[in-house]
Point group: C2
C-alpha cells in the first residue's frame, strides 16, 4: 500500500533509458550490432543485467533479437513506416473525433505548438521533430487510454529511429508546424469532425513525404 517507496528505478531501467536516448538521438545506427561483452563493460554492468535490458528494448521494437546471433538496432523498413502510419491514422483520428473540448491534454497540444515555433525560429529541426511528436502524443492522450499512450510512445520512438536514417529533417518537419497550429485552431473552434478529417489528410501527406525521403536514402 506504500506507493512512495516504489520510486526507485532499477539498474536495468536506468540503462534502458540511456540506450533509448542514444537510439533516438542517432548515436546508435540502424542495423548496428550491440555486443553483450562490449556494452556491459561500457556501462559497467554485468552481461546478465544487460541482457534483461535488451529484452525490454526488443519488446519496444527498438532492438531486434536474432537467436544465437545477438541483438541489433532495428532497421525500420518501408513496411515499418507504412504500418506505423496506419496505426497513427486509426488511433489519432479517432481520438480527435471522439474527444471532448475541455480535455486536459489540450494544454499539451498548445504547449507543443509553442515549442515547435520556438525550435523552428532557432532552426533546431530535431527539436521541431520532438515538438511535433509531443503534439501527436497529446492527441492520443485525448482518448484517455493508458495502453494507447504506451503504444504511441513506442511507435514514436520507432519513427524517430527511421528519421535517423534520413537527413533532410527541415524538409520533413518544418511544414507541419503551421499545420499543427491550424489543426488546433479547428479543434478549439469545435469543428471536431472537420479537424479529424484534416488530420487524416495530414497523416497521409506526412507518410508520403517520409516514404519518399526514405526511398531517396536507400543505398
Amino acid at each position: 500500500m506504500n506507493e512512495p517507496a516504489a520510486n526507485t528505478l532499477t539498474l536495468i531501467q536506468k540503462v534502458a533509458k540511456e540506450i533509448r536516448l542514444q537510439l533516438v538521438n542517432g548515436e546508435l545506427l540502424p542495423n548496428q550490432k550491440l555486443s553483450e561483452a562490449t556494452l556491459s563493460e561500457q556501462f559497467g554492468i554485468s552481461r546478465n543485467t544487460l541482457r534483461e535490458t535488451f529484452r525490454l528494448l526488443t519488446k519496444e521494437g527498438l532492438l531486434k533479437h536474432e537467436p544465437n546471433r545477438g541483438v541489433f538496432v532495428s532497421t525500420p523498413s518501408m513496411a515499418t513506416i507504412i504500418d506505423i502510419y496506419r496505426v497513427r491514422r486509426i488511433i489519432e483520428c479517432q481520438a480527435l473525433a471522439q474527444a471532448y473540448r475541455m480535455h486536459p491534454a489540450l494544454k499539451g497540444m498548445h504547449l507543443a505548438v509553442e515549442h515547435a515555433y520556438i525550435c523552428r525560429d532557432k532552426k533546431d529541426w530535431l527539436g521541431v521533430g520532438t515538438a511535433n511528436m509531443e503534439f501527436h502524443a497529446a492527441i492520443v492522450q485525448l482518448a484517455d487510454s493508458e495502453r494507447l499512450n504506451a503504444l504511441f510512445s513506442n511507435i514514436a520512438a520507432e519513427l524517430r529511429l527511421a528519421f535517423g536514417m534520413l537527413d533532410d529533417l527541415e524538409f520533413l518537419h518544418s511544414p507541419f508546424v503551421d499545420t499543427n497550429n491550424h489543426l488546433l485552431e479547428m479543434f478549439d473552434a469545435g469543428k471536431t469532425t472537420e479537424a479529424a478529417s484534416y488530420l487524416e489528410d495530414y497523416l497521409i501527406r506526412s507518410e508520403r513525404m517520409v516514404l519518399a525521403a526514405y526511398a531517396r536514402r536507400i543505398e
Copy 2:
C-alpha cells in the same frame, strides 16, 4: 539469408509461453506472488533465465514487478477493463469500417464463429471465450497492421486474466456467439458501416456485462 534456421524458440520464450498459458487458464491467480526460487526449480531453469522471462511478461502487463519485492500476477482493476474496452472500440470498429470485403482475415472470422458454436454445444464456456477472442483478433487483422495485432494479442491476454476473476463464464460469453455470427453476416452482405456501428454497441454491451460481473465478485 537462411530463414528456416531462425525457427528456434529460445528457452526464455518457451517458458514465457507456458506461464502465459497458465495465466489465461486461471492456474495462476491475480495478485499471487511468483517466487524466483520456486518457479525456477519448478521449470528446471536457472534464476537468471526466469528473470528474463518475467521482464517479457511484465512488459505485456500480465505480471507486475515491485522493486525488491518480486513479481506478482497482475490484478486487473475496473480501470483496466475500461481502458481495454476503450482501445477495442477504437481499433476494432475502425478496422471493420475500413476493411475490404475480400480480406483473408475473413476466413479467420468464419472459422472462429464455427469454433464458437461447437464449443457452445459442448458447454465448453472457456472454449467459447477463446473462440470469441479469435473472432475479434481476426477483426483487428482486417487493419493489416502487425503492431495493432500485437497490441490486441496483449489486450486479449489481459482480459482473459480479468475473466479468471469471474465465474459466470457462460453468462459472459455465450450470448455473443450469435452476435458474432450476425455481425459476420452483415459484413459479408457489404453493410460495412452498419456492421461497424453494430460492433460498437456490442462492445459497449459487453463491457457493461464484464464490469457488472466484476463488481459482483469484489470481496
